[in-house]
């Protein structure tokens, strides 16, 4: 059984109708940030969730932890239906499911010391007495590469990379099994990014953690994930083992995403697919396949009918009408 099983999860937000809409009596608009997503994360693996900004990947991460209450669907963690848990049990469950945020500047309270920030989960979950808490906190800080002497400092006294370490320490202190890493290295410089990635991998190995790793950076996802899920406009369009998805992407969106990444050293092995246009607004998503407005392979059916997710290989599935035709945007140049 998977550690985490997400079934048909949706998160919709009621958009504020514009004045014009209200005068003309239009109904409330709905932003379908996450729309019927199903995925599973096995114990001890890293599932990489990739997508461009606005595709709903962060909302999905938060809906799984119920930091944003899902509109619909189920999240089962280690056999327990998290979506049905009443508040006290949910709190207990949160000890086991944690999150690391993207922005190391905005996600730490500037008025609290590191000891207070990192030690808070211990107090909330009653895991340690006040005297023990300081010792535990110090130990976790050293585990993430900071010093116990820095316990009484404030976030502004640290650099971006060090703050991200504080964020990681806070997530680790309650001894969780599963961590949602929401773009944890995106705000960092290259050399610091590498330090944090190395730290996250080391912690995962030593503590037996499971990650849902959210990023827009294919290089990062490709480097550290075991499996990958590709998200577009609130839906998962392709998922599979990292090697399968990266070497043999089946969905046209995955193909164009991969071909857009600038590469170092190797001469471009694949043809460049140039996607036209921008991500459509989730307020007014296109009918049929959501990708059809930008897809060079779109045919009439794509404009009206949403494609089913189908298996294309071992553990590898994609949602596209034209899978059987064996078309590839990358063909020819490979």
């Amino acid at each position: 059984m998977s550690l985490l099983e997400v079934t048909d999860l949706s998160k919709h937000y009621a958009g504020r109708p514009s004045l014009g809409d209200r005068l003309s009596g239009k109904r409330r608009t709905l932003v379908r940030a996450v729309n019927g997503v199903s995925l599973a994360v096995e114990r001890g693996e890293i599932l990489g969730l990739i997508g461009e900004s606005g595709c709903g990947k962060s909302t999905l991460g938060r809906a799984i932890l119920r930091l944003h209450e899902p509109t619909d669907g189920r999240v089962v963690f280690d056999g327990t239906d998290v979506t049905a848990l009443p508040a006290p049990e949910l709190k207990a469950m949160r000890r086991r499911m944690q999150i690391i945020f993207q922005d190391p500047y905005a996600s730490l309270n500037p008025r609290r010391t590191v000891a207070e920030i990192v030690g808070l989960p211990l107090a909330l979950h009653g895991l340690a007495s006040r005297e023990e808490a300081r010792a535990v906190t110090a130990r976790v800080l050293e585990r993430v590469g900071l010093r116990a002497a820095q316990l009484d400092r404030y976030p502004h006294q640290f650099s971006g990379g060090q703050r991200q370490r504080i964020g990681i320490a806070r997530a680790l202190v309650s001894n969780p099994e599963f961590i949602v890493c929401d773009e944890p290295v995106s705000a960092l410089d290259v050399s610091i990014q590498a330090q944090i990635i190395a730290l996250l991998l080391e912690l995962k190995r030593d503590l037996g953690l499971t990650y849902l790793f959210i990023s827009h950076d294919i290089s990062v996802i490709g480097y550290l994930s075991d499996r990958v899920a590709v998200m577009y406009l609130g839906e998962i369009v392709e998922t599979g083992p990292v090697a399968a998805v990266l070497d043999n992407p089946r969905h046209p969106y995955t193909q164009s995403l991969l071909s857009a990444v600038p590469e170092i050293g190797t001469k471009r092995a694949r043809g460049r697919v140039r996607l036209q246009g921008d991500l459509p607004s989730p307020l007014n998503p296109p009918p049929g396949c959501k990708f059809h407005t930008r897809c060079p392979l779109a045919v009439a059916a794509c404009r009206t009918l949403a494609p089913e997710t189908r298996t294309v290989g071992p553990g590898h599935s994609a949602a596209c009408h034209r899978l059987d035709e064996g078309l590839s945007l990358l063909e020819g140049a490979r």
């Binding site: 190395a198 990292v242 170092i264 921008d278």
Partner: protein
């Protein structure tokens, strides 16, 4: 190719409460006509400040304290602010990382494009109506050039009505309006998604070829440099540490920092292998001793590295600021 921009021993300082920060400390560089120079470095390396200095846009408490900046045969440091203003936007144009804050939210895109032409273009006709239609025609042409659909309608819209990628294109269109000889693009794609990033970079490369313009591409992304730049210059803590032809530098870096940067980029090809991060962090720029600035993080540092290191020849068209560059050959 002749040299278009030549900067020699540039020093730009900021007086802060903590002390004097030498954000740019002795930077020398050349940009030849029509070439694309990539400038790579992490935050605080001085890459943006170097080129805001070239543009004459460093504001108090910062100032250009030393050095010469020759552009097309004239020393920009000796020019009056009027003369500088005539060059800026006409001969050298710069696009900023964050298009939303760089564009004026209260003016339509058409108005902002017209401003540049009114300020710089002497070939505009004198009559009011003729002038207006000439400006309009040129604006439509520029928006078309950067691939914005239905430019006539778009000209009447405000920056907030465009997506991030479109705003970056508009800034590029404005920068290109007067056909500058040099375009300085400061992190043009950092705020953009990868599919949009690819569109914008191809646009810049394409226009460069068509207009024969030189481009300075400031970025922290070595992948972008590898694909789009003829030469690359790597900056660290206010200094140039390595420069040379892109392919040669990336294939065989001659400075430990460049090597460390390349080794820290996670790549799917490196799965299962450990990436080797550069340890530690960038030094505080206040009161730096004159020694090699990278030595505290350098895996190859020796006691003799505790001296000021000049740029040393490191192969054809290449230089690196390292005493041990022979060991990296």
């Amino acid at each position: 190719m002749t040299v278009l921009l030549e900067v020699t021993s540039l020093r730009t300082e900021f007086a802060t409460r903590a002390g004097l920060v030498r954000a740019v400390d002795g930077v020398s560089l050349q940009v030849r006509r029509g070439e694309c120079l990539g400038v790579v470095g992490e935050s605080g390396s001085g890459k943006s400040v170097t080129f805001t200095s070239v543009m004459g846009l460093v504001r108090s408490p910062g100032k250009v304290a030393a050095g010469t900046i020759f552009f097309d045969g004239r020393d920009l440091c000796q020019l009056s602010s009027e003369e500088m203003r005539a060059i800026r936007g006409r001969d050298i144009a710069m696009t900023m990382q964050d298009a939303l804050t760089a564009l004026n939210p209260a003016l339509t895109v058409g108005e902002q494009m017209a401003e540049v032409m009114v300020a710089h273009d002497e070939t505009l006709p004198a009559g009011r109506a003729a002038r207006r239609s000439a400006i309009r025609e040129r604006s439509v042409e520029m928006l078309g050039l950067v691939g914005i659909p239905s430019p006539e309608t778009r000209l009447r819209q405000y920056p907030h009505e465009f997506s991030g990628g479109m705003r970056q294109r508009i800034m590029i269109a404005i920068a290109l309006t007067c056909r500058p000889k040099l375009l300085i693009a400061d992190e043009p794609t950092t705020a953009l998604d990868v599919t949009i990033q690819a569109q914008v970079l191809e646009l810049i490369t394409d226009i460069r070829a068509r207009l024969g313009m030189a481009v300075v591409l400031i970025t922290h992304d070595l992948g972008v440099v590898a694909e789009h730049c003829d030469r690359v210059m790597v900056m660290y803590a206010g200094q140039v540490v390595e420069e040379g032809p892109t392919a040669a530098v990336i294939e065989r870096p001659r400075h430990p920092y460049t090597r460390g940067l390349l080794a820290s980029i996670p790549r799917p090809a490196l799965r299962g292998q450990r990436i080797e991060p550069i340890m530690g962090q960038v030094p505080d720029l206040v009161g730096l001793p004159p020694q090699c600035r990278f030595h505290s993080r350098c895996p190859m540092a020796r006691p003799e590295c505790l001296v000021a290191v000049p740029m040393l020849p490191a192969g054809p068209g290449r230089q690196a600021r390292c005493l041990r560059l022979e060991d990296l050959a």
